[in-house]
C-alpha cells in the first residue's frame, strides 16, 4: 500500500479546538506539511494571533510566540530581527491582521520584513462570537451588523490587493480552501511564501478565504458554498504580486 495521505510531523497529535468543519484546520495542516517538507520545523518560530487560532501553539510542531490581538506581525518582526536566520511566520485572522493590526501588517510590508504572514479571512470575528470584521461583506448579518452590513459601516477591505501595492511586499497571494483543488493551490502559495522568506526577498503574505460555520449559522458544507458564491467574487484572487525575478517587482 502506498500512503497517499498521512499526518504530517509539522503538527502535534493534539486534536484542535476548532468547531466541526472549520477550515482553520485545513490551513493548519498545510502549514504543518510545509514545515515538514521544507525541513524547517526546528528553525521556525510561529506567531499566534488572538482569535480562534489563538491556541495554535498546541498544534504547530515548531516554537510559537503568542501575540496580543493585532500585534502578531510586530512580534514576528522582533523575533526575526533578533534571529535573522530563523523562519518566522504569523498566523492571523482577518480581524487581527486587517483591523486592529492593520498598521503592523502594512508597515511590515513596507519595511520588507523577511517574514511570512498567513491571513485567514473568514469575514467575521470568530473568536468573540461573530461580530462584523473589516472583511464582512455588504449585506452580511453579524452580531454587530444585525440588519446586515450597509455602506455606513464601510466596505469590506481587500488587504492583499492593498499589500500588492507596497514595495517591500515581495509575494502576495490570495487563495481559498473550499475544494481539494483549491487546497492544493493554497499549499503551493504558502510554500512559495516561505520560499520567498528563505530567499530573503522581502515580506510574503498569503490570504486564505476560510469558513466560520458556527458564526455564519450554516453547516460546514454550506459554508464552503458560501465561500464560493459570496466571498470569491468580492476578493481579488491569485498571485497578486510575485518577486521581481518572476516578472513582478517594482513598478
Amino acid at each position: 500500500m502506498k500512503t497517499v495521505f498521512a499526518k504530517t510531523a509539522g503538527l502535534t497529535d493534539r486534536v484542535t479546538h476548532y468547531c466541526p468543519g472549520c477550515t482553520h484546520g485545513i490551513i493548519h495542516r498545510l502549514i504543518g506539511e510545509i514545515l515538514e517538507e521544507m525541513e524547517i520545523i526546528g528553525k521556525t518560530v510561529g506567531v499566534a494571533p488572538v482569535g480562534c487560532a489563538g491556541f495554535c501553539e498546541n498544534y504547530f510542531a515548531c516554537d510559537i510566540i503568542g501575540a496580543a490581538h493585532g500585534r502578531a506581525v510586530a512580534v514576528a518582526t522582533g523575533a526575526k530581527r533578533a534571529h535573522p536566520d530563523r523562519v518566522v511566520f504569523t498566523y492571523q485572522g482577518d480581524g487581527d491582521g486587517a483591523s486592529i493590526g492593520l498598521a503592523e501588517t502594512v508597515s511590515a510590508a513596507a519595511r520588507g520584513e523577511k517574514l511570512t504572514s498567513i491571513f485567514v479571512n473568514n469575514a467575521i470575528y470568530g473568536m468573540t462570537g461573530g461580530q462584523m470584521a473589516p472583511t464582512t461583506l455588504l449585506g452580511m448579518k453579524t452580531a454587530t451588523s444585525p440588519y446586515g452590513r450597509d455602506e455606513s459601516m464601510g466596505y469590506p477591505l481587500d488587504l492583499p490587493k492593498l499589500l500588492a501595492q507596497v514595495r517591500g511586499a515581495a509575494y502576495v497571494a490570495s487563495v481559498s480552501v473550499d475544494n481539494p483543488q483549491a487546497v492544493r493551490e493554497a499549499k503551493k502559495a504558502l510554500k512559495k511564501a516561505f520560499q520567498v522568506q528563505l530567499d530573503g526577498l522581502g515580506y510574503s503574505f498569503v490570504s486564505i478565504l476560510s469558513t466560520c460555520p458556527t458564526n455564519w449559522g450554516v453547516t460546514p458544507v454550506e459554508a464552503l458554498e458560501w465561500v464560493r458564491t459570496k466571498m470569491k467574487p468580492y476578493f481579488a484572487l491569485g498571485e497578486l504580486k510575485v518577486p521581481a525575478e518572476e516578472g513582478g517587482g517594482e513598478e
Binding site: H17, P20, T214
Partner: protein, 208 residues
C-alpha cells in the same frame, strides 16, 4: 444600610439595598440555587432564563448568569440561576441545590458539586448509567425520547423543565407557564409545542 451613607447628588439609594434594610438580617428565607448544564444547543441557558423570568414574575429576587468563562468551543454550556425571597449576594452557584445535566460531560462535572439533600436531574436519553451519590436525589428522565414523541427533539429541555417544576418548584405552575410563554410564545405553533412539552414533563414526573 445607613441612608446617609449614600451621597445624594441625585442618586437614590439602590432598590435592593433598601429592600435589604427592611428585612431583619436573621430571617431565614428560601433560596434555590440552580446549575443547568449541557451541550451548547440543548437549551440549558434558555431553561435558566425561563426559571429566572418566572421567579421575577413571582416577585422573588432572581439572578441568572452564564458560565461565560474561557471554556473551549464544543464544551458544555451552563448557567447558574438563583431564586430567592431575599437579596442575592453572589450570583454564581458553586454548590447547587437543584442541578440539571443534559449530557454526560455535565453529569461528570457537576455530580459532586450538589449540596447533600439536593436534586440532580439527568437526561437519561444521553447520559449513560454512571455511578451516582446516595446523599442526593437523582431523577433520570429520557427527555430526548419524550420530546421526540411530541414531534420535536428540540423541546427536550422544556420537558425537563416540566419535570423539575413538578418535583422541585420554586414558583407556581401558572407563573412558570406564563414565563415560558413570554419568552417562547411569540409564534402560536411554538407556544403550543412548548406548553405541551412542559405538560408532558410534569405528567412524566407525576408518574414517577
Amino acid at each position: 444600610m445607613t441612608e446617609q451613607g449614600i451621597k445624594q447628588r441625585g442618586m437614590a439609594p439602590q432598590g435592593t439595598d433598601t429592600a435589604e434594610a427592611a428585612k431583619p438580617v436573621t430571617a431565614k428565607p428560601v433560596t434555590t440555587k440552580y446549575v443547568l448544564a449541557g451541550f451548547g444547543g440543548q437549551g440549558v441557558l434558555f431553561v435558566g432564563k425561563v426559571l429566572a423570568q418566572a421567579g421575577m414574575m413571582a416577585k422573588k429576587q432572581v439572578t441568572w448568569i452564564p458560565a461565560y468563562g474561557p471554556e473551549m468551543r464544543g464544551g458544555t454550556a451552563n448557567c447558574s440561576v438563583i431564586i430567592s425571597d431575599r437579596k442575592i449576594g453572589s450570583p454564581t452557584v458553586g454548590k447547587p441545590s437543584v442541578c440539571l445535566t443534559m449530557n454526560q460531560a455535565a453529569y461528570e462535572k457537576f455530580l459532586h458539586t450538589i449540596v447533600p439533600g439536593g436534586v440532580l436531574y439527568v437526561n437519561s436519553s444521553i447520559v449513560a448509567d454512571l455511578p451516582g451519590r446516595d446523599d442526593i436525589r437523582i431523577v433520570k428522565a429520557p427527555v430526548n425520547d419524550l420530546a421526540h414523541d411530541l414531534g420535536s427533539a428540540k423541546v427536550a429541555n422544556i420537558v425537563m423543565l416540566g419535570i423539575m417544576q413538578a418535583l422541585t418548584p420554586s414558583v407556581s405552575d401558572k407563573e412558570l407557564e406564563d414565563a415560558l410563554m413570554q419568552l417562547a410564545g411569540k409564534k402560536p405553533e411554538l407556544a403550543e409545542l412548548n406548553r405541551q412539552a412542559l405538560k408532558a414533563g410534569m405528567e412524566f414526573a407525576n408518574r414517577l
